[in-house]
């Protein structure tokens, strides 16, 4: 091949997602999916979308009905919401729209956090400045507040630890530098108990975007739906580069049905939070150091983490292992069903014999 690659891409390391095993029989606690099936109303919506047989037609390019439903519930305008093919797409649109190639734009992010931010920044010719957070409280370092980065990505709660940062700290990030865009990635917000508090920031600050996903609390990772909320002017720039048919018909219908099935998902979320407390306790009893998590996962540190990851996999239990130095002594474990958690604990006990 003699074709020159865009320099930013040549240097890029692709984001490596967690394994998706093809053999049956795995207990899958590695990609922070919900262990619960979709609400009956969502299954019906998928069924209806299939049997109406209109999926030979291009989808609504604006995902209007879905966005309207979300906008009404959040109390924002339609033009303040962009829906994407997973929140991955909306985060990508942020980078594509706001990072100017060749101008030295840099993104800011905590370390550790969701590593896709760095990949996206590099894809669009920028680099990432990281701000290390450390035990016991993983606080946002003081230096992050006035760093002159172009876009600051704050996952809240922040994987893989699960730390929840209070609203005042996000306000400070936003207020300290109004020419800096703050993207609050709320993929896990439903497990944190803070509700829609961050949406008020969008009203109060012109440089705040809040992204969400249906992949976690709404059990819909397979259909890829995420959205981002912000000032109209910001959303409009991202709209320009969005693929016009980015969100397929089935996903639009299913996400809307999911968004309306409030009780079903609130119930599952409650269960997951309960099981998170149970698992945290159980792991601590087994000698793991487990910081408080407000996501649908916990991060469990123990010296033998790397070996444990492999031995668990041999037992068909998948958890996520990161080799980065500040994470290499831990496992990120998704909160599965109580049965799956018990299988994991039995596995751990068997291995420590």
């Amino acid at each position: 091949m003699s074709i020159e690659i865009n320099a930013a891409v040549a240097a890029l390391e692709a984001y490596v997602p967690g394994e998706q095993p093809r053999e049956p029989g795995f207990v899958k606690l590695n990609t922070n999916e919900s262990p619960y099936p979709s609400a009956p109303a969502v299954v019906e919506a998928v069924h209806a979308a299939a049997t109406e047989a209109a999926f030979n037609k291009y989808p609504d390019p604006a995902s209007r009905s879905l966005r309207q439903t979300i906008a009404e519930s959040l109390g924002v305008e339609l033009g303040q919401i962009l829906a994407g093919n997973g929140s991955d797409e909306v985060l990508r649109l942020v980078c594509h729209a706001f990072l100017r190639p060749g101008s030295g734009d840099v993104i800011g992010m905590l370390d550790p956090t969701y590593v896709l931010y760095r990949t996206l920044a590099e894809m669009f010719g920028s680099s990432a400045r990281t701000f290390a957070t450390v035990a016991p409280d993983y606080a946002i370092p003081e230096a992050a507040y006035d760093t002159p980065v172009k876009v600051f990505f704050l996952a809240n709660p922040n994987p893989p630890i699960g730390t929840l940062y209070p609203l005042e700290q996000i306000e400070r990030l936003a207020a300290d530098n109004p020419a800096r865009l703050i993207v609050v990635d709320e993929a896990y917000v439903d497990f944190s108990g803070v509700g829609n508090a961050s949406i008020s920031l969008v009203e109060r600050f012109r440089n705040v975007l809040v992204s969400r996903t249906f992949s976690k609390s709404y059990s819909l990772a397979g259909l890829r739906v995420g959205y981002i909320v912000g000032r109209r002017a910001l959303i409009a720039e991202m709209e320009k580069i969005r693929d016009s048919y980015n969100l397929n018909r089935v996903s639009q219908a299913a996400a809307e049905a999911a968004f309306r099935a409030t009780e079903y998902y609130a119930d599952k979320t409650r269960q997951i939070c309960e099981d998170r407390a149970f698992l945290t306790e159980a792991l601590r009893r087994r000698g793991f150091e487990v910081p408080e998590s407000r996501g649908n996962f916990v991060f469990a540190r123990r010296a033998d983490a790397a070996e444990l990851y492999k031995s668990l996999k041999e037992r068909k239990i998948l958890v996520r292992y990161f080799s980065a130095p500040n994470l290499a002594d831990g496992l990120r474990i998704t909160i599965g069903t109580r049965t799956e958690i018990n299988t994991l604990l039995e596995g751990l006990d068997a291995l420590s014999k």
Binding site: M1, S2, I3, E4, I5, N6, A8, V9, A10, E13, A14, V16, P17, Q20, T31, E33, S34, P35, P37, S38, V43, V46, A49, A50, T51, F55, N56, K57, Y58, P59, P61, N85, G86, D88, H96, A97, F98, L99, R100, P101, P178, A179, R206, N207, L220, A221, G222, L223, A233, K240, I241, D243, S244, Y245, N246, L247, N248, R249, V250, S251
Partner: protein
């Protein structure tokens, strides 16, 4: 209050892609209930019944992320095409593959070569990445191979050849493709966009481009499940090329870009040769019918190898488009393709074609 965050300067000249008017919008605007949409080159027979069945059964694993690289579809399609699986890449529509190619290979100072009236996505990709677009005049509605090659230089990264072209319907034969491939520098890809491949190959002289892959590492072929397979609403297309060509594309590809629904339906649709055959038969019949009627109306058109026809009104076509809308027929204005006197109509079911012709006759009479 205004936003102070500066954005990429490339966006200043970028207008969003204007998609075909959705049926629901026309219903709202004009208070119509019966609408015939012949605007987006979709399959008028609907999706394959096998795909419907497969999708209706898809519900138990929606909570899990889909296959990242469309594993099962990749192997099935590779076998079907007689290719190595690593020669394939999948996108959220072939639109996404065009966008990913642009992201992977284009930057300021680079350029792409297209023909005039080309499908708009190519130029949008170039604009998005700050690259230049060189537009070449056509020869009798076809790509001009010599001029396209002549426009290339060492900063050309793509020569986009939609075959057949949308919105025209014309195609270039094998000899032309060979001429382009022989002349284009090795530092540029030739991207053959074959979105209408299944329709086009019904023509005896339509080139079977897969054979060209053997000798041309810089050839990329794009196809889609949106047209003949009837899955436009699910968003899935694929690219065929050298595995090395996909290496950077795979790095910019979102890890889970194709949904479970799309993968499931595409797997099933591939098995439905009966639906495909019905689709091709309906298209051939509808094409002949529309040719006849257009001749009767005295309207010139371009012979099509695809599932749409480009009609020449010899005067600004927007008033005709508007009048058709009011009559409940959505077709496609092609002003953005610099064809202000033309409209593009998708070949529909027999009754839809008839409604279109009747409406058109009424509009032209007034």
């Amino acid at each position: 209050m205004s936003v102070l965050v500066p954005y990429r300067s490339a966006l200043k000249s970028l207008a969003p892609y204007p998609p075909g008017k959705p049926i629901e919008e026309v219903q709202r605007e004009f208070g119509l209930t019966n609408i015939v949409k012949l605007a987006s080159n979709e399959n008028p027979l609907g999706p394959s019944p096998l795909a419907i069945k497969a999708l209706a059964a898809e519900s138990s694993e929606l909570n899990l992320y889909p296959e990242s690289g469309c594993h099962y579809l990749r192997f099935k399609l590779a076998e079907h095409l007689g290719l190595e699986p690593n020669r394939l890449i999948f996108g959220n529509g072939s639109d996404e593959i065009v966008a990913m190619l642009a992201q992977s290979y284009l930057g300021p100072g680079d350029n792409i070569v297209i023909s005039e009236h080309a499908f708009v996505r190519y130029e949008m990709g170039a604009v998005m990445m700050g690259a230049e677009t060189r537009t070449i005049a056509r020869l009798d509605w076809r790509h001009d191979p010599v001029a396209m090659v002549g426009a290339c230089d060492e900063r050309t990264r793509f020569v986009f050849v939609a075959n057949p072209e949308n919105p025209i319907g014309s195609f270039n034969p094998l000899a032309d493709l060979e001429r382009i491939l022989a002349g284009v520098p090795r530092t540029a890809f030739v991207v053959l966009d074959e979105a209408y491949y299944e329709f086009a190959r019904q023509n005896a002289d339509y080139p079977e481009s897969l054979q060209l892959l053997r000798n041309h590492d810089n050839l990329i072929i794009l196809r889609t499940f949106s047209k003949a397979y009837g899955l436009a609403g699910l968003r899935i297309g694929y690219g065929i090329g050298h595995a090395d060509a996909w290496d950077p594309v795979d790095r910019v590809r979102p890890p889970f870009n194709v949904s479970r629904a799309a993968q499931t339906a595409a797997l099933a649709a591939m098995d439905d040769s009966e639906h495909l055959q019905n689709t091709l038969d309906n298209n051939a019949r509808g094409r002949e019918f529309l040719y006849e009627e257009l001749k009767k109306l005295g309207l010139p058109y371009v012979e099509t190898a695809a599932n749409f026809i480009l009609i020449d009104f010899g005067r600004p076509a927007m008033p005709i488009y508007d009048a058709l809308l009011r009559a409940g027929v959505i077709v496609r204005p092609v002003g953005i393709y610099k064809l202000p006197n033309h409209l593009r109509v998708t070949i529909g079911l027999p009754e839809e074609n008839q409604i279109f012709v009747d409406a058109l006759r009424g509009v032209l009479r007034n």
